[in-house]
Subunit: 241 residues, 2 copies
DNA sequence: CAAAACATGTCGGTTTATGGCATATTTTGC
DNA sequence: GCAAAATATGCCATAAACCGACATGTTTTG
């Protein structure tokens, strides 16, 4: 079952992954596997090592090749939204002050940020400081927590990472619904209740809004004075420009 | 200031990033920037589009190229430990049941897992289920929380992801120190206090251990009956095989 | 000591990538 | 409406690279 990678780069990526997957295979076997010459495999190994992958080899009978076992992942390809979700999750976790993996986490966050275009990097770097984990909700408050609407959450998510101004319809504790124009600043977790801390334009004050009490969201698009009701229309039209 | 990428793959990655960074540049400018022909740039564009990157172009005066602005990061290169840290953070954040970015997060987690060698993937996929966020610590307990030792945490981190058996020296609430042989199962966060839930071999029971009360850690290495005191010797010797 | 494996050098043939040119198409400015 | 500017595509000769094969050296194991 020889594999035929399309590209040289392809072949090298594949080889790297195989080396991590199944250690101890000889170069000759790999050559057969990829339908190529042995020399090519060694050239690939050289190139990979030059790129910094710690490929180990043992000579003699029973020898073979392997990628140092606790090393390198191949490349991780994340779509933008996935990377954003990951960043937010990492920001949240960091707020819990994990004693165990904090260093690795910080480095991973920086790497993830580096993958964003420079124009966004600065903005997203601050995102971490906009998530807070507070003291937990009282039993009574936690009791009343409902699953928030997905469509509302999608819109709030975007408004949060883009720091856009939104109009929301908010159901107050007494049951009255009011319209607010707020500037989303900060997310606050009083577990299991999630809040948004925002500047309320109407009251000119900082208030907290429970996610599950936000009924509809309207995002203001700065570029076109356009308003798109994200709660009903989805977010497809949100591409700026 | 022409840049000279080493490789064709390199050049294409660079081009992709530039397209996201600075939109609206013309192909001719890019060619000059990379010290290559215009034709090559167009070929690169073709290849990148084939790979699925939504590169937009506008013709005519003032036209140019750009990557659709909210799209694709380039490749994210994470070292193994960084990826593990990210996974753990994401697991922790997921336990908080974030209403906002849960979907993206789950997808990102899967992508990250896919980058691990198949042998580890299954094991790491279960890692998510071994992190719990419980009800928060009482004021009295939170008050007594100390910063745990870094060296201890490093060792515990490894023992956790590898599910190794460890010997610990544990300081009980009354101040007595006892030696335990425990099997690390689960991490429990009663914010801000982090616990390890583990099976205690001596008592044959499941107990919780506060991170800040664990004084030393000794990790058992299954392969060589060897024991390495990670709290003092670091973890360099932990490479299995 | 011989076999097995990694590692490296060289060489000729082949493949591929590249750059230049021509050309079509779309958009914009005048 | 025309010229200029830009994307987009095809073709081709050439230069670069890649590759396989062979030779050779080195390390490890039985």
């Amino acid at each position: 079952m020889p594999i035929r990678p399309q590209d040289r780069a392809d072949r090298r990526d594949l080889l790297l992954r195989r080396l991590g997957d199944a250690p101890g295979i000889t170069a000759a076997t790999r050559a057969e596997e990829f339908g190529t010459g042995v020399r090519t495999i060694f050239r690939d190994l050289e190139a990979l090592r030059e790129r910094g992958y710690p490929i180990e080899s043992s000579r003699g009978r029973g020898g073979g090749l392997r990628l140092a076992p606790r090393w390198g992942l191949g490349r991780v390809l994340l779509a933008r939204d996935e990377a954003l979700g990951a960043l937010l999750a990492m920001a949240t976790a960091e707020q819990l002050r994990p004693p165990m993996f904090a260093d690795d986490l910080a480095r991973a966050r920086r790497r993830l940020l580096d993958a964003f275009p420079t124009s966004e990097r600065r903005r997203l770097a601050l995102l971490r400081q906009r998530v807070y984990v507070g003291s937990p909700a009282s039993a009574a408050v936690a009791e009343s927590w409902l699953e928030p609407r997905r469509s509302v959450m999608r819109a709030l998510h975007i408004a949060f990472v883009e720091t856009r101004v939104v109009d929301i319809m908010y159901r107050q504790a007494e049951g009255r619904d009011t319209q607010r124009t707020i500037e989303p600043h900060v997310i606050l977790v009083n577990w299991p209740v999630w809040y948004r801390v925002a500047h309320d334009h109407l009251r000119d004050d900082v208030r907290t809004f429970r996610f599950d009490r936000i009924l509809t969201v309207t995002v203001f698009l700065p570029c076109a004075q356009q308003m798109i009701d994200c709660a009903t229309a989805g977010v497809a039209g949100l591409e700026p420009l």
